[in-house]
Protein backbone atom coordinates (compact mmCIF):
# COMPACT_ATOMS: atom_id res chain seq x y z
CA UNK A 1 0.00 0.00 0.00
CA UNK A 2 1.48 3.33 -1.03
CA UNK A 3 1.99 6.05 1.53
CA UNK A 4 -1.13 8.11 1.02
CA UNK A 5 0.44 11.41 2.09
CA UNK A 6 3.45 11.04 -0.16
CA UNK A 7 1.29 10.06 -3.10
CA UNK A 8 -0.95 13.09 -2.65
CA UNK A 9 1.99 15.43 -2.40
CA UNK A 10 3.68 13.94 -5.42
CA UNK A 11 0.74 14.78 -7.64
CA UNK A 12 -0.44 17.94 -5.93
CA UNK A 13 -0.23 20.40 -8.75
CA UNK A 14 0.32 23.97 -7.54
CA UNK A 15 -0.93 22.86 -4.17
CA UNK A 16 -4.46 22.57 -5.51
CA UNK A 17 -5.28 19.37 -3.70
CA UNK A 18 -3.34 20.24 -0.58
CA UNK A 19 -5.12 23.57 -0.45
CA UNK A 20 -8.42 21.79 -0.59
CA UNK A 21 -7.48 19.29 2.10
CA UNK A 22 -6.06 22.02 4.35
CA UNK A 23 -9.16 24.13 3.98
CA UNK A 24 -11.16 21.17 5.15
CA UNK A 25 -8.88 20.90 8.16
CA UNK A 26 -9.56 24.51 9.06
CA UNK A 27 -6.89 26.64 7.44
CA UNK A 28 -7.51 30.36 7.93
CA UNK A 29 -9.11 32.00 4.96
CA UNK A 30 -10.93 34.88 6.56
CA UNK A 31 -11.98 37.65 4.25
CA UNK A 32 -11.38 35.95 0.96
CA UNK A 33 -15.08 35.47 0.43
CA UNK A 34 -15.57 39.22 0.38
CA UNK A 35 -13.05 39.44 -2.45
CA UNK A 36 -14.35 36.34 -4.18
CA UNK A 37 -17.44 38.10 -5.38
CA UNK A 38 -19.70 35.12 -5.01
CA UNK A 39 -22.85 36.44 -6.54
CA UNK A 40 -25.62 34.57 -8.27
CA UNK A 41 -23.91 31.94 -10.39
CA UNK A 42 -23.81 32.76 -14.07
CA UNK A 43 -26.20 30.87 -16.27
CA UNK A 44 -24.74 27.99 -18.16
CA UNK A 45 -26.51 25.54 -20.36
CA UNK A 46 -29.66 27.46 -19.54
CA UNK A 47 -29.52 26.63 -15.82
CA UNK A 48 -28.01 28.55 -12.96
CA UNK A 49 -25.76 26.36 -10.92
CA UNK A 50 -25.72 28.33 -7.72
CA UNK A 51 -28.20 31.07 -7.07
CA UNK A 52 -26.42 32.98 -4.35
CA UNK A 53 -27.47 36.41 -3.29
CA UNK A 54 -24.63 38.70 -2.31
CA UNK A 55 -25.65 38.31 1.34
CA UNK A 56 -25.69 34.53 1.13
CA UNK A 57 -22.28 34.58 -0.53
CA UNK A 58 -20.81 36.61 2.32
CA UNK A 59 -22.02 33.95 4.70
CA UNK A 60 -20.46 31.00 2.83
CA UNK A 61 -18.42 28.88 5.14
CA UNK A 62 -14.77 27.98 4.60
CA UNK A 63 -15.68 24.33 4.59
CA UNK A 64 -18.31 24.76 1.84
CA UNK A 65 -15.70 26.56 -0.27
CA UNK A 66 -13.30 23.67 0.34
CA UNK A 67 -15.97 21.17 -0.72
CA UNK A 68 -16.75 23.16 -3.87
CA UNK A 69 -13.06 23.28 -4.71
CA UNK A 70 -12.81 19.54 -4.19
CA UNK A 71 -15.73 19.11 -6.61
CA UNK A 72 -14.10 21.53 -9.05
CA UNK A 73 -10.85 19.53 -9.00
CA UNK A 74 -12.74 16.36 -9.96
CA UNK A 75 -14.71 18.19 -12.64
CA UNK A 76 -11.47 19.68 -14.08
CA UNK A 77 -10.14 16.12 -14.33
CA UNK A 78 -13.25 14.69 -15.96
CA UNK A 79 -13.64 17.61 -18.37
CA UNK A 80 -10.00 17.38 -19.44
CA UNK A 81 -10.20 13.60 -19.92
CA UNK A 82 -13.31 13.72 -22.08
CA UNK A 83 -12.10 16.75 -24.04
CA UNK A 84 -8.81 15.03 -24.81
CA UNK A 85 -10.70 11.90 -25.88
CA UNK A 86 -12.74 14.02 -28.31
CA UNK A 87 -9.53 15.38 -29.78
CA UNK A 88 -7.99 11.89 -30.04
CA UNK A 89 -10.84 10.67 -32.20
CA UNK A 90 -10.41 7.02 -31.21
CA UNK A 91 -14.10 6.50 -30.46
CA UNK A 92 -17.07 5.94 -32.69
CA UNK A 93 -20.77 5.16 -32.54
CA UNK A 94 -22.55 5.53 -29.23
CA UNK A 95 -19.25 5.68 -27.34
CA UNK A 96 -18.35 8.83 -29.28
CA UNK A 97 -21.80 10.27 -28.57
CA UNK A 98 -21.43 9.47 -24.86
CA UNK A 99 -18.05 11.20 -24.90
CA UNK A 100 -19.37 14.28 -26.66
CA UNK A 101 -22.38 14.67 -24.37
CA UNK A 102 -20.53 13.98 -21.14
CA UNK A 103 -17.60 16.24 -22.09
CA UNK A 104 -20.05 19.10 -22.54
CA UNK A 105 -21.70 18.36 -19.19
CA UNK A 106 -18.40 18.26 -17.31
CA UNK A 107 -17.15 21.46 -18.95
CA UNK A 108 -20.39 23.11 -17.90
CA UNK A 109 -19.92 21.83 -14.34
CA UNK A 110 -16.42 23.36 -14.32
CA UNK A 111 -17.77 26.71 -15.53
CA UNK A 112 -20.56 26.68 -12.96
CA UNK A 113 -18.31 25.81 -10.04
CA UNK A 114 -15.68 28.37 -11.09
CA UNK A 115 -18.36 30.99 -11.41
CA UNK A 116 -19.74 30.20 -7.97
CA UNK A 117 -16.29 30.21 -6.36
CA UNK A 118 -15.01 33.35 -8.06
CA UNK A 119 -11.43 34.13 -7.02
CA UNK A 120 -11.60 31.35 -4.43
CA UNK A 121 -11.58 28.74 -7.21
CA UNK A 122 -8.52 26.46 -7.29
CA UNK A 123 -6.51 26.56 -10.47
CA UNK A 124 -6.81 23.94 -13.13
CA UNK A 125 -4.15 21.26 -12.76
CA UNK A 126 -2.17 19.89 -15.68
CA UNK A 127 -2.98 16.38 -16.70
CA UNK A 128 -1.41 13.36 -18.35
CA UNK A 129 -3.99 10.72 -19.19
CA UNK A 130 -1.31 8.21 -20.04
CA UNK A 131 -2.86 6.90 -23.20
CA UNK A 132 -6.28 6.18 -21.73
CA UNK A 133 -7.93 8.52 -24.22
CA UNK A 134 -6.41 6.69 -27.18
CA UNK A 135 -8.37 3.46 -27.30
CA UNK A 136 -12.01 2.58 -26.80
CA UNK A 137 -11.28 -0.04 -24.14
CA UNK A 138 -8.97 2.15 -22.03
CA UNK A 139 -11.37 5.07 -22.40
CA UNK A 140 -14.32 2.96 -21.29
CA UNK A 141 -12.75 1.52 -18.16
CA UNK A 142 -11.37 4.93 -17.17
CA UNK A 143 -14.72 6.64 -17.72
CA UNK A 144 -16.46 4.04 -15.55
CA UNK A 145 -13.94 4.63 -12.75
CA UNK A 146 -14.20 8.42 -13.04
CA UNK A 147 -18.00 8.52 -13.01
CA UNK A 148 -18.42 5.99 -10.19
CA UNK A 149 -15.81 7.88 -8.14
CA UNK A 150 -17.63 11.14 -8.86
CA UNK A 151 -20.85 9.67 -7.49
CA UNK A 152 -19.07 8.50 -4.37
CA UNK A 153 -17.33 11.84 -3.93
CA UNK A 154 -20.49 13.93 -4.12
CA UNK A 155 -22.36 11.42 -1.92
CA UNK A 156 -19.64 11.62 0.70
CA UNK A 157 -19.61 15.41 0.81
CA UNK A 158 -23.36 16.10 0.69
CA UNK A 159 -24.03 15.72 4.43
CA UNK A 160 -21.03 17.97 5.19
CA UNK A 161 -22.33 20.89 3.15
CA UNK A 162 -23.56 23.73 5.36
CA UNK A 163 -25.47 25.83 2.85
CA UNK A 164 -28.76 24.44 1.53
CA UNK A 165 -28.22 26.27 -1.77
CA UNK A 166 -24.84 24.59 -2.24
CA UNK A 167 -26.39 21.26 -1.28
CA UNK A 168 -29.07 21.60 -3.96
CA UNK A 169 -26.42 22.28 -6.59
CA UNK A 170 -24.26 19.37 -5.45
CA UNK A 171 -27.28 17.07 -5.59
CA UNK A 172 -28.13 18.22 -9.12
CA UNK A 173 -24.61 17.31 -10.25
CA UNK A 174 -24.52 14.03 -8.27
CA UNK A 175 -27.48 12.59 -10.13
CA UNK A 176 -26.07 13.57 -13.51
CA UNK A 177 -22.78 11.83 -12.67
CA UNK A 178 -24.82 8.76 -11.70
CA UNK A 179 -26.56 8.89 -15.09
CA UNK A 180 -23.16 9.10 -16.78
CA UNK A 181 -21.95 6.12 -14.75
CA UNK A 182 -24.94 3.95 -15.63
CA UNK A 183 -24.71 4.95 -19.31
CA UNK A 184 -21.06 4.02 -19.80
CA UNK A 185 -21.45 0.86 -17.72
CA UNK A 186 -24.32 -0.27 -19.89
CA UNK A 187 -22.35 0.50 -23.07
CA UNK A 188 -19.53 -1.64 -21.64
CA UNK A 189 -21.90 -4.52 -20.81
CA UNK A 190 -21.56 -4.01 -17.06
CA UNK A 191 -24.34 -3.56 -14.47
CA UNK A 192 -25.56 0.03 -14.76
CA UNK A 193 -26.74 -0.02 -11.15
CA UNK A 194 -24.66 -2.62 -9.32
CA UNK A 195 -26.22 -2.10 -5.89
CA UNK A 196 -29.39 -0.85 -4.18
CA UNK A 197 -27.53 1.86 -2.27
CA UNK A 198 -24.50 3.74 -3.57
CA UNK A 199 -21.62 3.99 -1.11
CA UNK A 200 -20.09 7.36 -0.20
CA UNK A 201 -16.35 7.93 0.06
CA UNK A 202 -14.53 10.52 2.13
CA UNK A 203 -12.59 13.34 0.51
CA UNK A 204 -9.37 11.67 1.54
CA UNK A 205 -10.39 8.35 0.00
CA UNK A 206 -11.36 10.03 -3.27
CA UNK A 207 -8.16 12.07 -3.45
CA UNK A 208 -6.16 8.89 -2.83
CA UNK A 209 -7.97 7.14 -5.67
CA UNK A 210 -7.28 10.11 -7.94
CA UNK A 211 -3.63 10.15 -6.93
CA UNK A 212 -3.31 6.47 -7.85
CA UNK A 213 -4.28 7.25 -11.44
CA UNK A 214 -1.30 9.59 -11.74
CA UNK A 215 -3.37 11.67 -14.13
CA UNK A 216 -2.57 14.92 -12.33
CA UNK A 217 0.90 16.07 -13.25
CA UNK A 218 3.22 17.29 -10.53
CA UNK A 219 3.61 21.02 -10.11
CA UNK A 220 6.39 22.54 -12.16
CA UNK A 221 9.40 23.31 -10.05
CA UNK A 222 11.31 26.45 -10.84
CA UNK A 223 14.64 25.32 -12.24
CA UNK A 224 17.44 26.87 -14.19
CA UNK A 225 17.59 25.65 -17.73
CA UNK A 226 20.94 23.99 -18.23
CA UNK A 227 21.01 21.87 -21.32
CA UNK A 228 17.29 21.30 -21.20
CA UNK A 229 17.22 17.93 -19.50
CA UNK A 230 13.79 16.66 -18.77
CA UNK A 231 13.33 15.30 -15.28
CA UNK A 232 10.02 13.71 -16.21
CA UNK A 233 9.24 10.05 -16.33
CA UNK A 234 10.00 9.75 -20.01
CA UNK A 235 6.41 9.49 -21.17
CA UNK A 236 5.42 12.70 -22.84
CA UNK A 237 1.79 13.62 -22.35
CA UNK A 238 -0.30 14.18 -25.44
CA UNK A 239 -1.64 17.46 -24.23
CA UNK A 240 -0.55 19.88 -21.58
CA UNK A 241 -4.15 20.96 -21.30
Amino acid sequence: MTNETLTLEAVDVDGAIRETAEAVAGDTRAGFLAKAGLLSGGAFGGSTLLAFTAEAAQAQSRSDVAILNFALTLEYLEAAFYTEAEEMGALDGELALFNQVVAAHERAHVRGLRSALGSAAVKRPRFDFRGTTESASAFTSTAIALEDTGVQAYSGQAPRIKSDAVLVSAGRILTVEARHAAWIRDIAGQDPAPRAFDRPLTMRQVLAAVAETRFIRPARRRRRRQGGSNTGSGTSPRFTG
Binding site: F44, G45, S47, L49, G93, E94, L97, V101, V102, A104, H105, A108, H109, V151, Y154, S155, A158, P159, R160, D164, L167, V168, S169, G171, R172, I173, L174, T175, V176, E177, A178, R179, H180, A181, A182, W183, D186, I187, D191, P192, A193, R195, A196, F197, D198, R199, P200
Partner: protein, 227 residues
Protein backbone atom coordinates in the same frame (compact mmCIF):
# COMPACT_ATOMS: atom_id res chain seq x y z
CA UNK B 1 -46.05 -21.20 -15.44
CA UNK B 2 -46.66 -21.23 -11.67
CA UNK B 3 -43.25 -22.93 -11.18
CA UNK B 4 -41.57 -20.06 -13.01
CA UNK B 5 -43.41 -17.54 -10.86
CA UNK B 6 -42.34 -19.33 -7.65
CA UNK B 7 -38.72 -19.25 -8.78
CA UNK B 8 -39.06 -15.54 -9.55
CA UNK B 9 -40.38 -14.83 -6.07
CA UNK B 10 -37.64 -16.88 -4.46
CA UNK B 11 -35.02 -15.09 -6.52
CA UNK B 12 -36.40 -11.73 -5.52
CA UNK B 13 -36.39 -12.59 -1.83
CA UNK B 14 -32.82 -13.85 -2.02
CA UNK B 15 -31.72 -10.86 -4.03
CA UNK B 16 -33.39 -8.48 -1.62
CA UNK B 17 -31.76 -10.07 1.39
CA UNK B 18 -28.42 -9.98 -0.42
CA UNK B 19 -28.95 -6.33 -1.21
CA UNK B 20 -29.82 -5.66 2.41
CA UNK B 21 -26.79 -7.58 3.67
CA UNK B 22 -24.52 -5.84 1.28
CA UNK B 23 -25.70 -2.41 2.19
CA UNK B 24 -26.00 -3.22 5.90
CA UNK B 25 -29.30 -1.46 5.55
CA UNK B 26 -30.71 -2.75 8.80
CA UNK B 27 -27.77 -1.28 10.73
CA UNK B 28 -28.06 2.03 8.91
CA UNK B 29 -31.85 1.98 9.24
CA UNK B 30 -31.46 1.54 13.00
CA UNK B 31 -29.24 4.60 13.06
CA UNK B 32 -31.76 6.65 11.12
CA UNK B 33 -34.67 5.39 13.17
CA UNK B 34 -32.98 6.66 16.31
CA UNK B 35 -32.31 9.97 14.60
CA UNK B 36 -35.89 10.36 13.42
CA UNK B 37 -37.92 8.72 16.14
CA UNK B 38 -35.50 9.80 18.84
CA UNK B 39 -34.83 6.63 20.77
CA UNK B 40 -37.16 6.45 23.75
CA UNK B 41 -38.75 9.86 23.24
CA UNK B 42 -41.88 8.56 21.56
CA UNK B 43 -44.31 5.87 22.60
CA UNK B 44 -44.61 2.99 20.19
CA UNK B 45 -47.11 4.06 17.56
CA UNK B 46 -47.52 7.41 19.29
CA UNK B 47 -47.62 10.86 17.81
CA UNK B 48 -44.24 12.15 16.79
CA UNK B 49 -44.05 15.54 18.48
CA UNK B 50 -41.21 16.48 20.80
CA UNK B 51 -41.99 19.94 22.08
CA UNK B 52 -43.56 22.51 19.79
CA UNK B 53 -44.45 21.49 16.28
CA UNK B 54 -42.47 23.31 13.60
CA UNK B 55 -44.76 25.74 11.88
CA UNK B 56 -42.31 27.62 9.72
CA UNK B 57 -41.75 26.18 6.30
CA UNK B 58 -38.22 24.93 5.89
CA UNK B 59 -37.73 24.45 9.62
CA UNK B 60 -35.82 21.21 9.96
CA UNK B 61 -36.98 18.77 12.56
CA UNK B 62 -37.35 15.11 13.36
CA UNK B 63 -41.05 15.30 12.60
CA UNK B 64 -40.43 16.91 9.22
CA UNK B 65 -37.83 14.26 8.43
CA UNK B 66 -40.42 11.63 9.21
CA UNK B 67 -42.91 13.35 6.92
CA UNK B 68 -40.35 13.50 4.11
CA UNK B 69 -39.22 9.89 4.49
CA UNK B 70 -42.84 8.75 4.46
CA UNK B 71 -43.30 10.66 1.22
CA UNK B 72 -40.22 8.87 -0.15
CA UNK B 73 -41.66 5.58 1.10
CA UNK B 74 -44.88 6.19 -0.81
CA UNK B 75 -42.90 6.66 -4.04
CA UNK B 76 -40.81 3.57 -3.31
CA UNK B 77 -43.98 1.51 -2.64
CA UNK B 78 -45.31 2.70 -6.00
CA UNK B 79 -42.13 1.85 -7.89
CA UNK B 80 -41.56 -1.51 -6.20
CA UNK B 81 -45.15 -2.66 -6.76
CA UNK B 82 -44.97 -1.53 -10.37
CA UNK B 83 -41.83 -3.55 -11.02
CA UNK B 84 -43.03 -6.60 -9.04
CA UNK B 85 -46.22 -6.65 -11.09
CA UNK B 86 -44.40 -6.07 -14.38
CA UNK B 87 -42.05 -9.00 -13.79
CA UNK B 88 -44.96 -11.22 -12.71
CA UNK B 89 -47.16 -10.33 -15.70
CA UNK B 90 -44.64 -11.93 -18.03
CA UNK B 91 -44.86 -9.42 -20.89
CA UNK B 92 -41.19 -8.45 -20.63
CA UNK B 93 -38.12 -10.07 -22.11
CA UNK B 94 -34.43 -9.46 -22.77
CA UNK B 95 -32.83 -6.39 -21.26
CA UNK B 96 -36.21 -4.87 -20.35
CA UNK B 97 -36.90 -7.89 -18.16
CA UNK B 98 -33.39 -7.73 -16.69
CA UNK B 99 -33.93 -4.05 -15.91
CA UNK B 100 -37.29 -4.78 -14.26
CA UNK B 101 -35.88 -7.54 -12.07
CA UNK B 102 -32.84 -5.62 -10.88
CA UNK B 103 -34.72 -2.40 -10.28
CA UNK B 104 -37.56 -4.25 -8.54
CA UNK B 105 -35.03 -5.67 -6.09
CA UNK B 106 -33.48 -2.27 -5.49
CA UNK B 107 -36.85 -0.60 -4.88
CA UNK B 108 -37.90 -3.39 -2.51
CA UNK B 109 -34.64 -2.82 -0.60
CA UNK B 110 -35.42 0.92 -0.47
CA UNK B 111 -38.89 0.16 0.92
CA UNK B 112 -37.43 -2.13 3.59
CA UNK B 113 -34.83 0.44 4.52
CA UNK B 114 -37.32 3.30 4.85
CA UNK B 115 -39.83 1.16 6.75
CA UNK B 116 -37.11 0.09 9.12
CA UNK B 117 -35.90 3.67 9.60
CA UNK B 118 -39.45 4.92 10.27
CA UNK B 119 -40.40 2.06 12.57
CA UNK B 120 -43.98 2.34 13.81
CA UNK B 121 -44.32 5.65 12.00
CA UNK B 122 -43.94 4.09 8.56
CA UNK B 123 -47.01 4.70 6.43
CA UNK B 124 -48.91 1.74 5.07
CA UNK B 125 -48.78 0.70 1.45
CA UNK B 126 -51.72 1.95 -0.60
CA UNK B 127 -53.55 0.00 -3.30
CA UNK B 128 -52.33 0.48 -6.84
CA UNK B 129 -53.81 0.06 -10.28
CA UNK B 130 -51.16 0.34 -12.97
CA UNK B 131 -53.70 0.66 -15.76
CA UNK B 132 -52.20 -1.94 -18.05
CA UNK B 133 -48.71 -0.41 -18.04
CA UNK B 134 -47.29 -3.58 -16.53
CA UNK B 135 -48.71 -5.81 -19.25
CA UNK B 136 -47.20 -4.15 -22.30
CA UNK B 137 -43.47 -3.84 -22.81
CA UNK B 138 -43.58 -0.45 -24.56
CA UNK B 139 -45.88 1.09 -21.96
CA UNK B 140 -43.78 -0.44 -19.20
CA UNK B 141 -40.63 1.20 -20.55
CA UNK B 142 -42.26 4.60 -21.02
CA UNK B 143 -43.75 4.49 -17.53
CA UNK B 144 -40.41 3.42 -16.02
CA UNK B 145 -38.70 6.47 -17.55
CA UNK B 146 -41.29 8.74 -15.92
CA UNK B 147 -41.17 6.97 -12.56
CA UNK B 148 -37.38 6.97 -12.31
CA UNK B 149 -36.91 10.55 -13.52
CA UNK B 150 -39.64 11.70 -11.12
CA UNK B 151 -38.01 9.79 -8.27
CA UNK B 152 -34.71 11.60 -8.92
CA UNK B 153 -36.44 14.96 -8.99
CA UNK B 154 -38.46 14.21 -5.86
CA UNK B 155 -35.39 13.26 -3.83
CA UNK B 156 -33.51 16.33 -5.10
CA UNK B 157 -36.42 18.52 -4.01
CA UNK B 158 -36.64 17.05 -0.52
CA UNK B 159 -32.95 16.52 0.29
CA UNK B 160 -32.19 20.08 1.42
CA UNK B 161 -35.22 20.01 3.73
CA UNK B 162 -33.87 17.04 5.69
CA UNK B 163 -31.70 17.49 8.74
CA UNK B 164 -28.15 16.71 7.67
CA UNK B 165 -28.05 13.64 9.92
CA UNK B 166 -30.88 12.10 7.88
CA UNK B 167 -29.48 13.15 4.51
CA UNK B 168 -27.12 10.18 3.86
CA UNK B 169 -30.14 7.90 3.52
CA UNK B 170 -31.63 10.02 0.73
CA UNK B 171 -28.28 10.54 -0.97
CA UNK B 172 -27.46 6.83 -1.14
CA UNK B 173 -30.84 6.21 -2.80
CA UNK B 174 -31.08 9.16 -5.21
CA UNK B 175 -27.95 8.26 -7.15
CA UNK B 176 -29.28 4.73 -7.65
CA UNK B 177 -32.60 6.12 -8.94
CA UNK B 178 -30.57 8.23 -11.36
CA UNK B 179 -28.74 5.10 -12.55
CA UNK B 180 -32.12 3.41 -13.08
CA UNK B 181 -33.38 6.40 -15.07
CA UNK B 182 -30.28 6.41 -17.26
CA UNK B 183 -30.48 2.67 -17.83
CA UNK B 184 -34.11 2.56 -18.99
CA UNK B 185 -33.56 5.65 -21.15
CA UNK B 186 -30.71 3.77 -22.83
CA UNK B 187 -32.86 0.68 -23.37
CA UNK B 188 -35.50 2.87 -25.03
CA UNK B 189 -33.30 5.12 -27.10
CA UNK B 190 -29.95 3.56 -27.99
CA UNK B 191 -27.80 3.95 -29.96
CA UNK B 192 -28.64 7.41 -31.27
CA UNK B 193 -31.67 8.55 -29.26
CA UNK B 194 -33.31 9.98 -32.37
CA UNK B 195 -30.66 12.68 -32.25
CA UNK B 196 -32.51 14.41 -29.41
CA UNK B 197 -30.78 15.39 -26.15
CA UNK B 198 -34.10 15.03 -24.31
CA UNK B 199 -33.90 11.29 -25.02
CA UNK B 200 -30.37 10.79 -23.73
CA UNK B 201 -29.65 8.73 -20.60
CA UNK B 202 -28.28 11.99 -19.21
CA UNK B 203 -30.51 14.59 -20.88
CA UNK B 204 -29.26 17.70 -19.05
CA UNK B 205 -26.22 19.31 -17.45
CA UNK B 206 -28.08 19.38 -14.15
CA UNK B 207 -31.08 17.42 -12.95
CA UNK B 208 -33.90 19.60 -11.68
CA UNK B 209 -35.57 19.25 -8.29
CA UNK B 210 -39.35 19.19 -8.04
CA UNK B 211 -41.34 20.35 -5.05
CA UNK B 212 -43.47 17.90 -3.16
CA UNK B 213 -46.68 19.27 -4.64
CA UNK B 214 -45.23 19.08 -8.15
CA UNK B 215 -44.36 15.42 -7.59
CA UNK B 216 -47.78 14.72 -6.08
CA UNK B 217 -49.48 16.26 -9.13
CA UNK B 218 -47.42 14.11 -11.43
CA UNK B 219 -48.19 10.97 -9.47
CA UNK B 220 -51.88 11.81 -9.21
CA UNK B 221 -52.12 12.32 -12.96
CA UNK B 222 -51.04 8.68 -13.49
CA UNK B 223 -54.06 7.48 -11.51
CA UNK B 224 -51.95 4.62 -10.15
CA UNK B 225 -52.70 5.20 -6.45
CA UNK B 226 -56.09 3.96 -5.44
CA UNK B 227 -56.10 5.25 -1.90
Amino acid sequence: MSDVISVELLDSRTAVSEALDESRASTRADFFRKAIVGGGAFAAGGVLIAGLPSIALGQKSASQDQEILNFALLLEYLESEFYVEAVDRGALSGETLEFARVVRDHELAHVEFLRSALGNNARSKPQFDFKGTTSDAGMFRATSVVLEDTGVQAYLGQAPRLRRQTLPAAVSIVSVEARHASWIRRIVGKPDYDGRAANYPAPAVLDSPLTRSQVESRVQSTGFIQG
